[in-house]
Amino acid sequence: MNNPPEHLQQNDTGRGTEIAKLVQSCQGGDKQAFNRLVLLHQTRIYNLALNYVKTPEEAKDLAQDIFVTAYRALPSLREADKFSAWLNQLAMNHCRNRYRKLQRRGYFTSTSTDDIIVPELIATNSPDRLLERNERDSLVRTIIAAMPAAEKEIIILRDLQELSYEEISETLGVPLGTVKSKLNRARHTFKNKIKHLLGTP
């Protein structure tokens, strides 16, 4: 139903085989293969980071740290065809750690949907017509940032990163059933926040 956009599709056979070969070459010391792996995954990883730390500078730094760790840990990866899932897991750990670290330092201002002001939305109840695409994207990211950590995480993985249920289950280390129920809860939370902004009864 929700096919990922072309640049995010990683599980088709051709792409999967290419990635597995690149991983093996990289494990054999081929740096160009590593470059290619970075280029194939950088949009996904950068956007994942951006959802956790907000500023492009911080997200770039975080994404680079993720790839640096991946490069160093790559020799320990036994199943080359699991690279993307392995990288997701590694990236999630990095994002969580960086988020906690920044939170402790007071990097994030506390965001509540009560603080989000969208006068056009509230006035007209017609978001699609009034909000520019960029404004809407920005609003969505702000709403997600204000969600509880566990719900935010699953909604980012499924609806922004467009991972399958199985990939999310593998990345978060939780059973498939838990993924489904958590996702439903997170999407309801998101819907309710939109509803609150729209002033819908």
Partner: protein, 263 residues
């Protein structure tokens, strides 16, 4: 006749319905409920609309210098951390191993007849043993060939970089602001060839050049500058493969490998 669903059950299945994860029997039961329940119908409409908002969020393109920054970070590796990692594995294992070593050392120096009353030749012997350890006299290979140091010595528009390619500190022109669409790795047969190439390439401001500690040169440039690069490398270039590879939408930065012949 199938059992009707209540509002709670229906709303618990919104996500599965939206993702096409429900079987036909459950879809029919949900549709039957939605046809008669205005509240759930309104909630379902809001649910799908908010989901559409989420799915329409456009991914932000990764910064063009993400890759070059990764290599810069890989080269800034703390040699001690690398060595500890090589020796012990994970940082946790390194820490615990160091704690054990530290404890052993503490216990050793705490023994009065060894630490405080040991004759001087015993200390010398201890030093002799230590000097044969991997730490001091027999370091890992990477220490024998020190990692590349790229150190901006000044920050006044142009920068002085020192590294193991250039024999002298090399003054680079101000780095151009380019959005590269090609990443080139140069494989040169010898350190001298690499040093020579590095100096030739660094003198140009058409591209960014980066050298890592393993002796690989990375050149980031725009595609229209390839002929210029080929001209610059003409006396050395053996093969250039592939001329273009990949090129897939967002990830349009492509990689090309150059093989340099021996001088």
């Amino acid at each position: 006749m199938t059992n009707p669903m209540n509002c709670t059950t229906v709303q618990e299945l919104f996500s599965a319905l939206a993702d096409g994860e429900l079987d036909t029997a459950n879809i029919a039961r949900m549709e039957s409920h939605l046809a008669t329940c205005r509240h759930c119908t309104r909630e379902w409409r809001l649910f799908t609309e908010s989901l559409a908002w989420l799915h329409e969020v456009k991914p932000v393109p990764a910064p063009p210098d993400l890759l070059i920054g990764i290599h810069a970070k890989l080269d800034r590796t703390n040699p001690l951390a690398t060595w500890l990692h090589d020796l012990f594995g994970s940082p946790l294992r390194a820490l615990s191993s160091m704690a054990v070593i530290g404890l052993a050392f503490f216990l050793w120096v705490s023994q009065p007849d060894i630490a405080t009353h040991a004759p001087s030749n015993s200390m010398a012997d201890a030093g002799g043993v230590f000097s044969q350890s991997r730490t001091a006299a027999n370091p890992p290979a990477r220490f024998l060939n020190p990692p590349l140091e790229i150190t901006p010595a000044m920050n006044t528009g142009s920068e002085v970089w020192t590294n193991n390619f250039a024999t002298q500190p090399y003054r680079l022109p101000t780095l151009p602001t380019i959005t590269p669409d090609l990443a080139i790795t140069v494989h040169a047969p010898s350190r001298e060839t690499r040093a020579h190439l590095y100096q030739r390439l660094a003198a140009q401001d058409r591209w960014r050049i980066h050298a890592d500690s393993d002796g690989t040169l990375f050149i980031f440039l725009n595609e229209e500058d390839i002929p210029h690069l080929q001209h610059t490398l003409a006396p050395h270039l053996l093969t250039m493969t592939p001329r273009s590879s990949g090129g897939d939408g967002e990830n349009s930065l492509r990689t090309v490998s150059l093989l340099i012949k021996s001088q």
